[in-house]
Symmetry: C2
Subunit: 416 residues, 2 copies
Amino acid sequence: MKTEFIGIGSELLYGKVQDTNGSWLAKNLHSKGLDFQGITLCKDEKEDILESLERALKRSDVIFISGGLGPTQDDVTKKILADYFGKKIVESEIAASIVQENYQRYGKEWKPDWNHYHHIPEEFEVFDNPKGLAPGLGYYQNGKTILAAPGVPKEFRSMVDEIFLPWLTEKKLISTKERNQIVVRTHGVPEEMIFNKLAPTLWEDLSQFGSLSSLPQVLGIDLVITLGEGSNENEVLNRVKDVIAKTELSNNVWQWGNLTIEELLVKNCNHKGITFSFAESCTGGLSSHRITNVSGSSGCFMGSAVTYSNQAKQNILSVDSSTIKKFGAVSKQTAEEMAKGSREEYASDIAISWTGIAGPSGGTPQKPVGTLAIGWATSKGVNGSEMVQYSGDRDWLKKRFSEKGLLKLLELVETY
Amino acid sequence: MKTEFIGIGSELLYGKVQDTNGSWLAKNLHSKGLDFQGITLCKDEKEDILESLERALKRSDVIFISGGLGPTQDDVTKKILADYFGKKIVESEIAASIVQENYQRYGKEWKPDWNHYHHIPEEFEVFDNPKGLAPGLGYYQNGKTILAAPGVPKEFRSMVDEIFLPWLTEKKLISTKERNQIVVRTHGVPEEMIFNKLAPTLWEDLSQFGSLSSLPQVLGIDLVITLGEGSNENEVLNRVKDVIAKTELSNNVWQWGNLTIEELLVKNCNHKGITFSFAESCTGGLSSHRITNVSGSSGCFMGSAVTYSNQAKQNILSVDSSTIKKFGAVSKQTAEEMAKGSREEYASDIAISWTGIAGPSGGTPQKPVGTLAIGWATSKGVNGSEMVQYSGDRDWLKKRFSEKGLLKLLELVETY
């Protein structure tokens, strides 16, 4: 049973919009044990859509399409699917009632001539759209299934989860099973060092458990083992731990699992009843944004003082003006005072601070772009700071800076 | 001259990693007037790569490949390209010296048996990697060019910009020209309302200037007109403005251009010498993160107090505890006090605040998930607040919440 994804929309191919439906679908279907073949993005032009469709029908059994179902004239998916399968477009009563109900859900009235949402290729399946207005479409022929949903991510996602997958399962067109993966998340050592110096036989040793991938992350490397059918996940995890314990890599593992660091922090802190707060200069709110993306973060995260100006560092975090004057805003001393100030202002158990130079401007010979000082303070009197140097552009540096501080927080939470 | 992109890596197809190289390349090549055909993501398995390669060679002249050039055993791109074109893999002295220099740049020593970065298909072009270690590859045959770079975004991007595009231009394999686009960014009115109610003939009226797309954004719709060759951008822009001025849509345009709202804010505030700050509860630092992604934001952005707890709202922003008790943390009154507190603490000209319920938990019948209060305060005594209601999941709501407040800030900056 092979599946794949076609994203339709010229905006995806002049870089105005980044497709995220493909990657989301990939993760979703892969985790259900379905073989996901590929992601194809094509313009909303007839020839391109037909070529992509034909290729997909050749190699896959279920094809998910997103985009091109909207109300404007560049939304051509319906017409092209109808032409391809030799169907006329007709007014569908089922579709009209779905659209009408969707409008009512948002307290609006629908006028059919606004968008022709109820015009559907004849003999096509019509599906509800739980998070939007335009209905989805399906067609089954010669063992191949085509399913089309609007491109707006929340509409696409809910349609796949709530409509398409249950429908495919009910019609026995797919059978899903959980696919087990073991993820070992490491930091502090580059990929080639792992496989050449720290653990030269690791690739072979881990490959015995399943299919291995090595994935560089913002800081560090994830080792991912996709297990074969019938493997016992816990048993294999213990054997993987044994293998790695015998190598020098063991000190670099920060998680035997696949949570993001922010998810892991929220989980551990809520479990242990630890609260934390931030003081952010160079990360500019990114660390706080990441933590608050996690539902439940309000149970442990008190907040973050984003202090871009020196004045704000003094006013809000009580950083001493003489510290900034003597050592600079980007210094271990300022970082430590920022962390202490954040802990006090937010009344948190642990505080982490970031001050550094994300560039492109602001670097000096002594403190070039990429310089980062992090500081920390805990209610148990564990205070400190560290200075490191990274490379990259502004966007990448903010990410690496943030990661470095969150890894430090994880370490402090573990020993708190 | 047609171009396209193939991203290689199984991690892209089980959703562990979201490809961003394709979208970045699309934007880059499109803006240079090159015809960009498609984005294809495939597993790092021989059959899949060959199928994708063959399809690309059939329809495009220049094919950019990312991924599969790393040091581990799942990095198979070199071997497959060699096989496909019937070449042996040989040790390349040029490649070895490039790799050695790259290692030296990072102050490291290179041992050839660590990664075989210098093993290259014979007769292939070898390219430097300005931001990484592994070299890039190129091959030209029968009018078709293949260019391969590592998948790490900063390496891929710098290789395209600094190496591949200059090389293609020098070899006369491409000729670039600026492609002009007009972007009209609107908010506050849904797509179908624009084209049915506010401006029923707008699609036809704007299509006379070029190829029109209508792109839903986080809040609002972008209208994008890609101009034909030889069009005068300024002249067309004025004619587009005339067309829209005659419709009811004119009040909903927030920008005649293609900057992000955060870029536009930083530009306008630096130009006018206006400073601003935030107080964020439900957006959790996202607004601050967005602003600080813009280089130059330190000229106008003072910072943001991310206050998740009520205690922090009181301590840092001086919100009155009786206000929270009487009206709730999510209320117009609390929002306005948060904004005033932020303006005072950060000594800014304008402050914006957000307090709301991003969900999935925390909603009540009176204030369901999606409820947002924004507040504002200026040094000229313009204070106020507004309450709105959105739908979506946590991630989407944070984005919409943030956008709503930034639009308000833009309005305040315009009239300040």
